[in-house]
């Protein structure tokens, strides 16, 4: 119970991080869309790029955060932080999908994978923390593991999800 305020701070920090990412990509998307509309060009490609970029950036941030949060604060708090990070993008995602030519199943698959990772990675971190029993080592190792997941995301899985 004594850790409750710090837990809430961690969840808020994750939500702030997710909101900042969502706002950044949304500003880029709306700006490039406006430029395309003024030039009489098709804006659907920008929407698809925004969806892909937001998914990759959130996925990387989630990989870095979720394993460590699970190792240090347990699975439940880690999953909450991960969801707070991922959820801020949802309203923009629906708008960007409406402006793109991507099928809705692709967006649902991508978001579903992100949510699944947001639940599974903290569980992995918790098991790692329990196995090592040394918080400093668990912290360092969870960061390394998260970085490895993030790097993997930028290669094969990202291409598979978005058909690249």
């Amino acid at each position: 119970m004594t850790h409750a305020p710090s837990m809430r701070r961690a969840a808020s920090s994750a939500a702030v991080c997710g909101l900042a990412l969502a706002a950044t990509v949304a500003v880029w998307w709306l700006g490039s869309t406006r430029l395309a509309l003024n030039a009489g060009a098709d804006a659907s490609g920008h929407a698809a790029s925004a969806l892909q970029a937001a998914w990759l950036v959130r996925g990387s941030a989630l990989a870095l955060l979720a394993v460590r949060a699970g190792a240090l604060r347990g699975w439940r708090h880690g999953a909450g932080e991960s969801l707070a990070l991922a959820a801020a993008w949802w309203p923009v995602a629906v708008l960007a999908w409406a402006a793109s030519t991507l099928p809705w199943t692709q967006l649902a698959l991508a978001e579903g994978l992100l949510l699944a990772a947001g639940v599974a990675l903290p569980a992995l971190g918790q098991r790692l923390g329990a196995a090592l029993r040394q918080p400093d080592v668990a912290d360092a190792l969870s960061v390394l593991l998260g970085a490895a997941f993030a790097a993997a995301l930028w290669s094969a899985p990202g291409r598979w999800v978005w058909g690249g």
Binding site: R8, A11, S12, A15, V16, L19, A22, A23, A26, L30, T33, R34, L37, N38, G40, D42, A43, S44, A47, G80, L83, A84, A87, A88, W89, W90, P91, V92, A93, V94, L95, W97, A98, A99, S100, T101
Partner: protein
Amino acid sequence: MTRRRAAAFLTLLGLALCGAAQAATPLLELSASAAWKGWSRPGRATEVDIRIGADAAGQATLDLTASRLSARAELDLQPGRGQRLQMLVGAAEQVAVVATPAGGAAQRFQVDIARSESPILGVALAAGGAARLDGFHSIELAADDLPRNAAAYASIDALIVDAPTLDALDARQRDALLARAAACDRIVVLNLERARRPPDAATGCAGGALASAASLPEALERLQASLATGLPRPMAFAGIGELAPPDAGVWQTVAVALGLYFALTASMLIFGARLPLLLALPALCAAAVLPLLHALTPPSQLVVWSEGASGAPLARYQAWQRFAGVRRERLRAPLPPQLAAGAQPCDARQALHFDIDARGGRPAAVAFDTRLFGRTPLCYAGTFPMARALAVDDGGADSRQLRNTGAAAWPGGTLLAGGQAYALPPLEPGARIAVATGTGRAPDGAVQRIASIRTQAQGAPAGALWPLDLGGVAGLPRDARGWLLVTVARR
């Protein structure tokens, strides 16, 4: 026993109904051909003439597919009364026509369109006979090979038609031909004076007489001579689209909605909201996005640009309509009935579907896939009657004398001369006014600039520009605007 009787009755009833359905299915006779004997040019519009008959009354559906363009018409067939439909299509290699009677098997017909890289000379002589013009691909035509849609004349580059063929044209073919002659297409009529129904004197290029020749060599000579001078070409559709003001209403709505969402989430974070609320807010906002998009009305813009020569009975118009998308959907938009006959894709790559009104023989609605920020343009081309005539006399170095030589008064507009724009006041028929050359100013805005450039490009010393009164055109979007440019010859 009662059950058996009931079963037998139902069986007999079923058989009778099956028989009735079989008897009601009409046997269709379907044929189709392309205008200009199936010849066209790459990227140009042409016309497919579809003939369909049936041996029994019934309903049928007619589908046409030409590359990315498709059309559908619901037909009410009567025995012995064949129907004809002429549809404007892009010059695809093949046009597939499928007729499906209600409850019957579909019949297919394929029309091949040959696309010539060389310019096409059409020769429509009742007695037959060919003609050759250097560099042109010559095709011999019968009266029925000429299209009913004026826009289908884009497929050819020059036409020689004799008086008997002119007489053999039906009303729609004749209207289309005269509209194109008025629009300065290269059309020469052989022995026009022998026609039983000669056209009005002022139906040729720029309100002049329709070009006539006494013999085939003379007709060829006239066409050859006309090649040396550039003819006024219609304005490009893309250029007309640029006259429409940018419409950022949907973009602004989305930007404001996202701004509100980010502000709300940020304030919740500042006030220390708990995790369930931080998850519920984006989920609720995401769920609210779709109703928000459905609440938006897809805006549409229409721009009409028309041109004619002073005194000419017809003005040529081109219109450009933009449908803005607000959500992922298949949008079906009704077409303005007075413009619908000339509706066509602005770009051959566009996937459009037209619903054809079989009675009127013209598109009634267009359907296409759209999305948020999607913009689908649709183009129209045609002619309308015009009664504007004016003369500009040099009144010395300081002024120009302007005279309304027509039978109708005109409203206020803009006079364009020598690269300058002058205010043009309303003028009654026969009235004249002096316009001081010192009152000229540089053309203001895209419309005046384009009008000034086109006036000079057509070799006219002056042009008069008026806003087009679109009040009489039904079914136009709220944001519709148009202009009429009348070029003037110096007197």
